[in-house]
Amino acid sequence: MPTPRVYRTNAIVLSRFDLGEADRVLTILTPDQGKLKAVAKGVRRPGSRIGGSVEPFAELELLLVRGRTFDVITQAAVEHAWLALRDHLESAATAWYLAELAERAVEERASAQPVYALLRRACQLLDDGMTPARVARWYEMDLADALGVRPEVERCVECDRPLEADERFRWVPALGGVLCEQHPGPPAEVVGMSLAALKLLRAYRRLDIEAIAGLRLPPTVEAEVEVLLRRFMRHALERDPRSLTFLDEVRARH
C-alpha cells in the first residue's frame, strides 16, 4: 500500500546535516518505513516551533508530508527525551555508535520494527544509566538477530556438534559463529577465544539485558567479547562504523 501524502509516524533522529540557511535534513529511523530522509524547515532559527525537538536521541512523533526529494516535517512532538544520556559522554558516544549501526543495518522505506524497538530500548537503558558497554554488546547481538545473522554460539558452525567445555574454540565471523577444534577454517578470519568469552556470548544470547546488567564479570572477558562482537558486526555490515573512533577515545580517557 503506498504511503498517503500526509502521514504520522514515530521516529528517532539518527543523523542530520544543515541545508541552506536555516533548514536541516534529518535521517530518521521509523518502525514502518525504516530509515528515511526528511527536511525540517527553519529549525536552525531560535523560536522555531519544531527546532528543539528534532535532535538525535529522542523519540518523536512526527507529521510528515511527502515531498519529491525529501519528505517535509510539519509537526513534531517529543515522546521520550532521554536527556540524561546527553549529559554523559560515554553514553552519548555509545548512542551514536548504536545509531550508526542501525543506519547501516536498515533499508530505506522498508519496515524496521525490530531495529526501531531495539534502538529505542537501548537509548532508554543508556538514559537510565546502565553501563554503556553492556548495552552495546546486547544491542549488537540483537541487531545481528534482526539482520538474520545471529551468531551461533551453541554448536559448531561446520559440523553442528554441540561445543564441549574442554575443547578449543575459534571465532569465525565469516562462517557465522564458533568453530570446533576439528576444522581449520579460513586462516585469515579465525580468532581464538576463551571458554569464559563463549559463556558470556551465550549469556548475551539467552538473557535479557536487565539480567546481564547485574552480572559481575572480569573486565578481560568483557573486553574479549567486545573484540569478538565488533569483528562480527564489521563482517555483517562490511566495514567499521565511523563513530567507533570517538567512542574508543572517550573510553580510553576514563
Binding site: L14, S15, F17, G20, E21, P46, G47, R49, I50, G51, G52, S53, E55, P56, F57, A58, A76, A77, V78, A81, L83, R86, D87, H88, L89, A92, A93, W96, Y97, A99, E100, E103, R242, S243, T245, F246, L247, E249, V250, R253
Partner: protein, 196 residues
C-alpha cells in the same frame, strides 16, 4: 540567449545559500540596471575579502592581520575564553555587550557518525591557549544540539581541574509562552533551573 559574462554571473550567484536560478537571474538584472560603479564596488569588496581575510592566528576567527580585531584589542579580558563552533557565533555574542573576554573557534562540532572526531577540530590549540594565556574561565558556547553538547562535554573532560568551566544556559526563548515550548527545550530549562 544570455551573454557569457551574464551566464557566468548567474551561475556564481545561484551557488549562494537560499538563491535558486530564478533569484540569481533577478539579482543579476538588478545589478545591471543601476549605475555602473555599483557592480564594480561589489566585485571589489568580494576580491578584497577573498584576498585579505585569513584565520586569526590566536582564535581562528576572521582576521585581516595576524590577529583579529578582538584578539588585538588590549581592553579584552584574556582570562576569560569563550569557545564557539564557528566564527558566525561570535557576532551575536558581541551584540549582547555582556561579554568582555576573548574567543576560540573550534571549526565545527564533534559528530562521530559523520566522522568528525576531536582531531578534526582546533582542540589542541585550545588546550595550548588555556595553558599559555593565563585563562581562568572557559565558557563553552557550542550549539545546544546533540553534537554541540557532546563537544562541550568532551572539552569539559579535557579541561576539568585546570580552569573554571561554564556552559551557556539553554532554555526557553525570552518572550515565548511555556505552552508552545517543545519538550526537549523545556526539559533542558528544568534541568538548568536556578535559585532566585
Amino acid at each position: 540567449m544570455l551573454t557569457p559574462s551574464l551566464e557566468r554571473l548567474i551561475a556564481e550567484l545561484s551557488r549562494l545559500p537560499g538563491i535558486g536560478p530564478r533569484s540569481a537571474q533577478r539579482l543579476a538584472f538588478h545589478l545591471l540596471k543601476g549605475p555602473r560603479d555599483r557592480p564594480v564596488a561589489l566585485a571589489e569588496a568580494l576580491v578584497q575579502m577573498a584576498e585579505r581575510l585569513r584565520p586569526c592566528s590566536r582564535c581562528f576567527s576572521f582576521a585581516e592581520d595576524e590577529l583579529c580585531p578582538i584578539c588585538a584589542d588590549p581592553r579584552r579580558d584574556t582570562s576569560l575564553l569563550c569557545v564557539v563552533e564557528e566564527p558566525s557565533a561570535i557576532l551575536p555574542i558581541e551584540r549582547t555587550h555582556e561579554y568582555r573576554g576573548t574567543y576560540h573557534v573550534l571549526g565545527g562540532a564533534l559528530s562521530p557518525i559523520d566522522g568528525v572526531d576531536p582531531d578534526d577540530l582546533r582542540i589542541d590549540e585550545l588546550v595550548r591557549r588555556v595553558d599559555a594565556e593565563g585563562v581562568t574561565e572557559v565558557v563553552l558556547a557550542t550549539n545546544p544540539t546533540m553534537t554541540g553538547e557532546a563537544t562541550a562535554l568532551y572539552l569539559a573532560d579535557l579541561l576539568r581541574g585546570r580552569v573554571r568551566l561554564t556552559r551557556l544556559a539553554s532554555g526557553l526563548p525570552v518572550g515565548a509562552d511555556l505552552e508552545h515550548a517543545d519538550e526537549l527545550t523545556l526539559g533542558r530549562a528544568l534541568l538548568g533551573r536556578r535559585e532566585l
